[in-house]
Amino acid sequence: MSNSPVVKDNSFVEQSARQRIKRLLDKDTMRELISPFERVTSPWLAKQGIVSQFDDGVVIARGKIDGEETVVAAIEGSFQGGSLGEVSGAKIAGALELAVEENAKGNPMSAVLILETGGVRLQEANLGLAAIAEIQSAIISLRKYRPVIALVTGPVGCFGGMSISAALCSYIIMTREGRLGLNGPLVIEQEAGIVEYNASDRPFIWSLIGGKQRFESGLVDSYINDSQKSVREAVVDHLNRGVPSVHRTEKYCDLLEAFLHLDTQDQITPENAQQLLMEGGGHE
């Protein structure tokens, strides 16, 4: 009887967006901004016969991590696949802009983004796209002052425009179950055909875009297990590292160089992809 007969509640992945923030912040420091009680909700979903949610699937909170002022935005993957629309996108952009203003006033404030998202909410199309552009612009402003950390733990993963946002962050932390990629597996299967890319072959998908592969390709900074303790420790560790001297996105030229030599005749294997990305300067 190796396990104690108590609830195993130490998984970060299994928590809702709100619980995730609570577990990440120092005890009793969480203060939710634009909470569900303010009922700032999507004006577009109801018109399309979809039941809206009072937080529009995004939770924003201020609090402290290891004593440091931090704003955290968490996307709820179980609401509309974590998609970002006008309101949910603006909530994240607004949170990041708040941190920019605080830093400009001389009050250090970092940001953590907990990403469970397929990207833009199709029902809100351009408004979602615009919101994601605002998020990206705010990340770039903020990352000069304090670290902006992206956390991709799964089960949804991080895709679409928000995968670009994650790449713009100072640091990316992933778990085994997290996935990170521009297009989701089903979209690629539709484009490339099921023979080349079978979205229901789960081990195959994770071997290409899962947390382990992304870490071993140098595209993310930390690969951790799923416990709440290790998530918090990794976030604290990266906050303490401060602003990186060079951001990953500033090294894009090296990768472009590597891609020029890529032979696409044969289907790329996870090992080949790793090698190529590491040579392209993915490593520190």
């Binding site: 009887m1 609830v7 799964g154």
Partner: protein, 553 residues
């Protein structure tokens, strides 16, 4: 009597026929081995038109090389077969009928092929003998459905014909015995042929019961049917699980049981180490199980709840875990599990206190069915578990607790619990005025509606609204009122009289969560001992190896 006047009777026509068919195969076979590429020719020699043929379509493993080969024989040589199949699961099982190779079908379960069976009946290409429960079909093999030929599947054979069926033994022994001991021909497909019996992990079927082995072109098909991903268990399932543990398992001291497949019962399995533990029930309930090795049972096993589990079949991914827990599971000297559907069905019928499972439809009296119009899905094993066997004589606390009085001539009862959400989805109520099974019986002119579990066997109906203790009902009207009291906003539920319901609750005939001390707001997924497949693997110390379709890493 004068010996000379006695007419000469040949008492071994079946044996002679068997030998003559086998003689015609001598040039093809190598001892008892049929070369893989000669299988079609061999089947055309060994099977004659009109034969009764038992084909191992099991619940899980499939003799699919043999079924594909049988579907490729020439219908001018072999036709009009009478197929006997526990489970009709593969497309080629029905190709046999479309091509005229087979004509009549006796079976238990059809699942995925249920719609096509209905169509073939309408087209006049398939005639159903009867739809059975599993042990009922095995039993008929020994009476009026004795096969001429058995087509079966195993993992490994030696050159003499000893077979290793291991964790997937399932139906094989029951099917083979009826054939081998009445001069039928037994053909077993295996994934691998080894030289000697000592090269087999163990012998599950002795060579003297087997006439031929053939190496399959690819390993037999088997599907993980009993894995339920804890991610898909909802708060409602948790509430129903709490009701079951508090209002049934604890109340009646259920020691031994069978769980149906579904998220409801998976939730109960995952609540035992948490909610069950908090009620102090460990060691007091749920000690002995007749159950496939459900991955969701791992946390309960690991925290010491489970003393024994006997299995109908195996579950993919559970092999190493089961082998590492021989105190709990039935395993051979080699360490791997031995399943046996016939024995496990009997155990689930006679030796357990309770069956609990869900269904698609329940009517106002408590009859249930999984039939939906046009689909002839069959029964499988649920009716065996889900009835009170009249031949039971040994008492147990739970069995005796179902008695209305202590008279020495009053029998106890098995607990048969139907655990259903009041709606299947937003438009289909589970509790209905009339089962679709009745419309189907009229459509196909069947003498009997395909009812899964009869009202007279059901002791409890449990929904997210509460529990109806039907075994306590004193009249049919009261029984109907009890079901209506837990039927929510279904048409049946809306007819209930609030005053009658209040009286039923006060009398302890119906219990809502509040009556059992359960707060609905406590019923959240947080109570589950594992919330994902990954957590199940953690509980197993990495021994459980989930199949690819359940992995998210």
């Amino acid at each position: 009597m004068n010996a000379a006047s006695k007419p000469t009777i040949n008492w071994s026509t079946r044996r002679d026929e068997k030998h003559s068919r086998m003689d015609s195969l001598k040039s093809i076979v190598d001892g008892s081995i049929i070369p893989t590429e000669k299988i079609k020719e061999a089947l055309e020699c060994l099977i004659k038109s009109g034969d009764k043929v038992v084909l191992e379509g099991n619940n899980q493993k499939q003799a699919d090389f043999l079924s594909r080969s049988l579907a490729s024989v020439n219908p001018d040589i072999v036709s009009q077969l009478h197929m006997i199949m526990p489970s009709v699961g593969r497309p080629e099982h029905l190709d046999l009928f479309e091509q005229g190779i087979a004509r009549k079908l006796d079976f238990s379960f059809s699942g995925q092929q249920s719609l096509r069976i209905g169509q073939l009946i309408e087209d006049g290409l398939l005639e159903v003998g009867a739809i059975h429960t599993y042990i009922e079909l095995y039993a008929r093999l020994y009476v009026d459905l004795t096969p001429r030929v058995a087509l079966l599947a195993g993992f490994k054979a030696d050159r003499a014909g000893n077979i290793y069926t291991g964790p997937s033994t399932e139906d094989t022994p029951a099917l083979i015995e009826a054939t081998a001991f009445r001069d039928g021909i037994v053909i077993v497909q295996v994934n691998e042929i080894v030289d000697n019996a000592s090269d087999l992990p163990r012998v599950d079927i002795p060579a003297s019961w087997v006439d031929y082995v053939v190496q399959a072109d690819k390993p037999f098909f088997i599907e993980p049917l009993f894995t339920r991903d804890p991610r898909l268990i909802t708060d409602v399932h948790v509430l129903m699980g709490m009701l079951a543990i508090r209002g049934i398992y604890e109340r009646h001291k259920v020691q031994s049981l069978n769980h149906g497949i579904g998220f409801n019962t998976a939730a109960i399995e995952l609540l035992l180490p948490t909610y069950g533990e908090s009620l102090g029930l460990k060691g007091k309930i749920c000690r002995h199980w007749t159950l496939n090795p459900h991955p969701t049972l791992i946390p309960a096993i690991e925290s010491g709840w489970v003393e024994s589990v006997h299995c109908f079949g195996t579950e993919l991914g559970m092999e190493e875990y089961v082998a590492a827990r021989p105190d709990v599971f039935f395993t051979g000297k080699d360490g791997s599990m031995r399943s046996n559907r016939a024995f496990c069905q009997l155990a689930g019928q006679y030796a357990v206190d309770m069956f609990i499972g869900s269904t698609l439809q329940v009517d106002g009296d408590g009859n249930s069915s999984t039939v939906t119009r046009g689909r002839l899905a069959g029964f499988g094993g649920a009716p065996n578990m889900g009835h009170d066997p009249g031949g039971r004589r040994h008492p147990s606390a739970a069995w005796l607790d179902m008695r209305p009085n202590d008279d020495l001539l009053t029998k106890g009862r098995k607990l048969v619990v139907q655990m259903v959400e009041t709606f299947q989805n937003s438009t289909s109520p589970t509790l209905v005025e009339e089962l679709d099974a009745l419309a189907m019986a009229r459509d196909y002119k069947m003498p009997l509606a395909p009812v899964m579990i009869y009202a007279s066997d059901v002791t409890h109906v449990l929904t997210e609204e509460g529990i109806a203790y039907l075994y306590k009902a004193e009249s049919l009207d009261q029984r109907r009122a009890m079901i209506a009291a837990v039927a929510g906003v279904t048409p049946i539920g809306l007819k209930r009289d609030p005053e009658v319901t209040a009286n039923l609750r006060a009398a302890g005939l119906v219990a809502y969560p509040e009556d059992l001390g359960i707060r609905r707001s406590d019923a959240t997924r947080d109570l589950l001992a594992a919330k994902s497949i990954a957590e199940l693997q953690d509980w197993s110390d990495g021994l459980y190896q989930p199949p690819a379709k359940f992995r998210s890493w």
